[in-house]
Symmetry: C2
Subunit: 281 residues, 2 copies
């Protein structure tokens, strides 16, 4: 794995480039992105050169798709012809950093030659987007899911996994559908609840609400700063799992509402304490 191309040089793509460089990756890091992102990424040294998608497939060993999910799906279609041509000559590993995995892996198996796509998801992020907020340490100590599927093997896979370890991630191999089910609870549900609480307070149209609060409301509304453009394709590609997670939450909230009426909240608090403490171990 001597050269890398990053498609979509935003928070995640830019952080991947910065992380590789800061850990001693010496090869070229090409960037395929909008002019503004490329300019900023070159200045930050997150990439070493600008490239087209076709040139990237021609020269890179690893193509890293770090776009929103809907854009990853269309990039995979665009990659079909150049990747098919490239693998007849030299191996190439295509991977992605999309927030959902089942649809992306399914799309790759339809459009790309077998054994050249490895789904991935770095469980790291910020409420702000763009290469300007990229950080070399973004992936450090964070889980990094890979969804190789049964029988997957690729000559560059060991090197890619080695770099993920060097970057300080905790690599976890998982079935793509299982990944989507889990993140519906641990990532998509928290996002929608943060959006829901901020929208609830906005609807109340009372200036006192943004004046009289403790730090707890800041925590609970941070994710609500996220952009809907990023989230619409996450939701579109994980709808059933997200609806299940909302249903489970609604059941729990209804139990809490009834407990508020009856003055008997402690069981929910005890279970919530247990989970939250375990999360911090």
């Amino acid at each position: 794995m001597e050269s890398v191309a990053i498609v979509g040089v935003g928070l995640i793509g830019g952080s991947f480039g910065l992380a590789l460089r800061s850990q001693g990756f010496a090869g070229p890091i090409l960037g395929v992105s909008s002019s503004g992102a490329i300019q900023a990424a070159l200045e930050l040294r997150a990439i070493s050169a600008r490239s087209t998608l076709e040139e990237a497939v021609e020269s890179a060993d690893l193509v890293y798709l770090a776009q929103p999910v809907d854009r990853i799906l269309s990039t995979i279609e665009q990659l079909a012809a150049p990747v098919a041509s490239r693998v007849r000559r030299r191996p190439i590993l295509v991977t992605d950093a999309g927030s959902t995995k089942f649809r992306i892996v399914q799309h790759a198996s339809r459009f790309l030659p077998p054994n050249c796509f490895l789904g991935g998801h770095p469980m790291a992020g910020k409420e702000r987007s763009g290469v300007e907020v990229a950080e070399a340490g973004l992936f450090q100590n964070r889980p990094y899911v890979l969804t190789p599927g049964a029988g997957f093997s690729h000559p560059f896979e060991p090197a890619f996994r080695k770099w993920l370890n060097v970057l300080g991630t905790r690599v976890i191999s998982l079935d793509a559908a299982e990944h989507d089910r889990v993140v519906a609870f641990t990532s998509h549900l928290p996002q929608l609840l943060s959006t829901a609480i901020a929208a609830t307070l906005e609807s109340a149209s009372d200036p006192l609400l943004s004046e009289l609060h403790g730090t707890g409301l800041l925590d609970m509304s941070r994710l609500a700063l996220s952009s809907s453009s990023l989230w619409s394709s996450i939701i579109a590609t994980n709808r059933e799992c997200i609806l299940s997670a909302i249903a489970a939450f609604s059941t729990e909230l209804e139990a809490i509402r009834e407990a508020v009426e009856r003055d008997s909240l402690s069981t929910s608090f005890v279970r919530a304490n247990t989970f939250s403490a375990a999360l911090r171990k």
Copy 2:
């Protein structure tokens, strides 16, 4: 206001003592609390001496009730006789730091002489409790609600307000019922939602849920670490407002659930973005 007594020397009471000292308050700061809390508070210099409630009323100009809401209510009853006796000789100002105000103010007007109780609520806290986590800067840049009620006046009130300013708080005078309505949305609802999401994930009983998450879940579950013993009396004294806040949230969540089904989330995101950005201005 030459001497202060803090009743309940935990996170809030201890932080009040530390803050006064760090800003140059030179008089005695008595502590009325459990032996363990008194010992720790003396070592941290959050208080200067231990006292009984009766001695505190005898010698302090300001009595600061920093207990959970249910304990504040019973302390107010205990204060009835000694405060009535004291005010016949010298003025004394009793204030509190309870998370709800209407019931406390109502209780004080029933048990204490007129014009000697001023309800208060520093909008600051932590998910951990106890004087061990107290901080001199806890109240800095945080709102501090006072609920004086119509016609309230007290010779020590200007000095108390001056000290709250010196401590760096933003003092806001508000009707007690209005305070409770606002904090139901900005404090009690966020707490119950954090508890609900953590309890939802605990119920799923899947070890992957505490392994595969981003930093967003840590934000959303931090309040869930709070103790139910503190919250049960907050809920018991603000039930109707909390039920209204839960109802408003449930309406918003149902709209989001329907939008997930229909792929049309952006209006909730836009409104949530607006509120969350305003909160950070």
